[in-house]
Amino acid sequence: MERSLHRYSGRRGGRLPARTALVPEWLLEIGLGLLLGVLFVAGWALLVAWKHYPPYILPAPEAVGQRFLALTRNGLLWRHTLVSVEEIAAGLVLGLSTAFLLGYFLARFAFWERLLFPYLVAAQAVPVIAIAPLILIWLGNGLLAKTVICALTLFFPVLVNSVVGLRSIDDTLRLLMRALGANRWQLFTKLEWPAALPILFGGLKIGVALSVIGAVVGEFMGANQGLGFLINLAARGTMDTAMLFVAIFMLVFIAVTLYGLVALLEKRALRWQPQQRRR
């Protein structure tokens, strides 16, 4: 009998015999991460102190911090952040759902894929920045236009990922489902969806990062609120470079948070993958 336990326990962990560590690995990871952040800010502060840059070129970190506190106190930052987050969320929902549905359709019907893909590639070749003004003219400069611009930015990579994911499903598993008399819905929920999930998560990660870019592009083109608008205001109107930095950091924070959420979701959803367990 193949019941030697060391066999699967060995595969499960895939780790070397534990060294006697002074600090646990996760603590080391967090500590090093924080240290890198501190080093970055310290380097920045030193650079400003050394070169004496005027605040409109490069403000000191503490100036940015003060601007951040001022902006949060008068509620301005939250208002603009909320607007951007709304656009990003709506853009993600629209972009991801359409890209996935079309991807499913194209993966199932090779004829339509051959027919439509050249046009999709052509559409992708037009920079979103170039068509963003057009969308603003057509849809006004409210939430709808920003949502569409954001969705367009992430549409193509997510679409390609969906097609690839659904195409990569093992033929024998399809045959098995047929032998078991699975209906169309069962085929989707029990085979196609879980099998495509790892690759869909890849698309989701790219999509989340692109959605932030999409929202800012939309706001640059025409908006009176949102973090993109705040950046525009800071850079062109008032030379308020500290506020510019605050807005940029806020965008970074949104992107990293979204990415982290997706990564967490992925880890939960793909527990069956050996590489997910090892992490």
Partner: protein
Amino acid sequence: MNAKRSILKQPFLQARHLCAFYDDTQPLRVLDDISLSIGETEFVAIVGPSGCGKTTLLQLLGGLQTPREGEVLLRGRPLAGPGRQIGYAFQVPALMPWRTVQENVLLPLELEGVPQPERVQRAAKWLDLVGLAEFGPMYPYQLSGGMQSRVALARALIQEPSLLLLDEPFAALDALTRERLNFELLRVWRYRTVAVLIVTHSIEEAVLLADRVLVMSPLPGRIVANIPVLLPRPRQRAHLTSAEFARLSGAVRMAIAQAMAPAMVGDVEKSTFQA
């Protein structure tokens, strides 16, 4: 008429004049006029050179393909398609990596709509029968190749089919594991509750397992020999080294060689004729 037919002893599974083609437009045949019948509790092996249409034949008999010519009858009725009376195991275990071993085994019941507690109970029973009782919560990647094959076997049997179709189920395994799994298969089948049709390219495997070995010719596949195996049951490892086992293996080997030879001679004749 119908009543009369049912009184007559019907073969359990019957194929009549089955032909299969490469595709709809070409006359090139994969299978040529295959007729066979299998008894209710019989264990039949099909042996043949690789690429002789064995997999196609199995898919036709299992209702995964519909024949363009000929027919397949199950208990005297034309086979409409796949169904729970037919269990399948493929050349690869074909386990879903995102499902645990237990979830893989109970998949057929889940699709059928069997309630959850019963599913789990039956999966546990079949996992126990294939010797994997404690492995239910594991994921397929944590199992060896031989264990994965057993999971696939448990999954094929969980609906308690009356016909089990095995398409080189142990082809990817090493010789030792394969032999052990052959005996496991015989142990599961020992009460003759299911008819088994196994496709293999191992002569020894065919003789060890089956009541009867059917030999197929190279393309287009035809059945060229029907060799009964009268070794006593339960089959044991001692049989593998017996004179009778060697004689039967020899007979199967000869039949395959004969099936290959005329095909080549035929080709030569044709080409000289054309020249």
